[in-house]
């Protein structure tokens, strides 16, 4: 064990003492948000198993349906969008409980709450990280899986676009649930009961967009409604999550 450098020596270097602190105040609170985002992505990269679990779950669940139903293109086309959306929704749910849990366990969350940066911004950073890790891969993978359901290129495009707008909504709504159930025993089951009903509008408009495209009505209306949901949740969720976290931490 190397020895501790006494403050006298360090002061001689012009660094020690409480009047000369090493960190500098930051100009923009958005830097703190980006820092949370970077840290969560780094943590996800160091624990790849957790990330890949959600992705493989999505892959396998959506592949089981065509295998179980058999080669009936008309039926597969009909259920495809719904199955893929439900798969995406459940895959997002998998990582949700961990969003604040590990930070809560090791005390990092307390430090975030006490940070001079606004907590809603830090929370937004965590939600973006959750989406990049569990939402974005689903968006990329979904069109490939859609081929199993005999969806035409136009429908695949609408599916991906719908997921691109819809999965951030899932992460955002999930964040409120994760914050509310933090520190509750059996929080995982409670979280599903709390969050899944709130996912219904996103599911209806998301899967509906592809159906509408297939029936020739055009997906514009559904996608606009998804966009409205995203704008609404993006506005309210950081504050709701912040309030929930403060309650959970007491």
């Amino acid at each position: 064990m190397s020895s501790l450098r006494p403050p006298e020596t360090a002061r001689a270097l012009g660094l020690a003492g409480t009047d000369a602190v090493l960190s500098e105040p930051q100009a923009s609170p958005f830097k703190a948000m980006l820092s949370v985002l970077r840290r969560d992505l780094l943590l996800a990269m160091r624990r790849k198993a957790e990330v890949l679990t959600a992705l493989f779950f999505f892959l396998i669940v959506s592949s089981l349906f065509p295998l179980g139903i058999g080669p009936e293109p008309a039926l597969l086309r009909k259920i495809g969008p719904g199955v893929l959306w439900v798969g995406a929704l459940l895959a997002t749910m998998l990582g949700l409980q961990r969003m604040f849990y590990s930070d809560h366990l090791d005390g990092t969350l307390e430090q975030m709450v006490l940070s001079s940066a606004p907590l809603p911004l830090l929370v937004t950073g965590k939600v973006i990280a959750h989406w990049l890790v569990s939402g974005l891969p689903v968006v990329v993978l979904a069109p490939v899986l859609g081929l199993q359901f005999d969806l035409d290129p136009g429908a695949l495009w609408i599916l991906a676009l719908g997921l691109l707008i819809g999965t951030p909504v899932l992460s955002l709504i999930g964040a409120v649930g994760a914050a509310l159930t933090l520190g509750v025993r059996g929080g995982g089951a409670l979280l599903s009961l709390l969050v899944l009903p709130l996912y219904i509008p996103t599911l209806i408009f998301g899967a509906g967009a592809v159906q509408a495209h297939l029936s020739g009505q055009g997906a514009g209306g559904h996608l606009s409604l998804l966009g409205a949901l995203l704008a609404l949740t993006l506005f309210f969720v950081p504050w709701a999550t912040t309030a929930a976290l403060r309650i959970s931490l007491e």
């Binding site: 409480t18 160091r46 006490l114 001079s116």
Partner: protein, 199 residues
């Protein structure tokens, strides 16, 4: 100036402590003492603004605590490690500073860790460090964070004799420079005596 007035804390239905009054002026520190389970940690969490008291209030320079101004001047180190096992000591320190709304260069972070005897272990994931070394990663924030009020919950736990002296020295310097500190410890603290708050 931290003023605590008539603080009462209730856990469930059981009152932990009632009518706690004290003040910490610049250049002084308070030692919160009492047997296990008497509510030392609860008191410190209330002082930091993490929990709300049943009754009474805590003021910082006359203002109610919890505002951005207060959080900027506060450093609270709880008894949990507040470090990520999968990140290195250096990353932990830099991210902690950034999330506090500050910037910390790599050189300065290395310097802080070296002062806490972690030279050569900066780039090791924290899960490979011992409990005492993990504690040092957290405590390195005492030299990287700009704060007037230090609230330290059992800071000497898991530290060896040298590290205890080193940390006590840092607290003494901080107080001498006009800072304030509130700490809990079961050990005798090797520091010029401060005010004692018995719970």
């Amino acid at each position: 100036m931290l003023t605590v007035h008539n603080l009462t804390c209730v856990r469930g239905t059981r009152p932990l402590f009632t009518g706690v009054d004290f003040a910490v002026a610049p250049g002084s520190w308070a030692h919160v003492r009492g047997p296990n389970g008497v509510g030392k940690t609860s008191l410190l969490r209330i002082l930091a603004g993490l929990a709300k008291p049943e009754e009474g209030e805590v003021r910082w320079n006359g203002e109610k605590i919890g505002g951005e101004e207060f959080r900027r001047e506060l450093m609270y180190l709880g008894h949990r490690a507040a470090v990520k096992d999968d990140l290195t000591a250096l990353e932990n320190l830099v991210f902690a500073a950034e999330m506090d709304g500050a910037t910390l260069s790599r050189e300065h972070a290395e310097d802080a860790l070296q002062r806490f005897g972690l030279a050569g272990r900066e780039d090791l994931p924290v899960r490979f460090l011992s409990a005492g070394q993990k504690r040092r990663v957290l405590l390195a924030r005492t030299v990287t964070r700009r704060a007037k009020l230090w609230i330290l919950d059992e800071p000497f736990t898991a530290l060896d004799v040298k590290a205890v002296d080193f940390l006590a020295n840092l607290v003494a310097e901080h107080v001498k420079a006009g800072g304030m500190a509130v700490l809990t410890s079961h050990q005798a603290i090797p520091l010029a005596p401060g005010q004692v708050v018995e719970l």
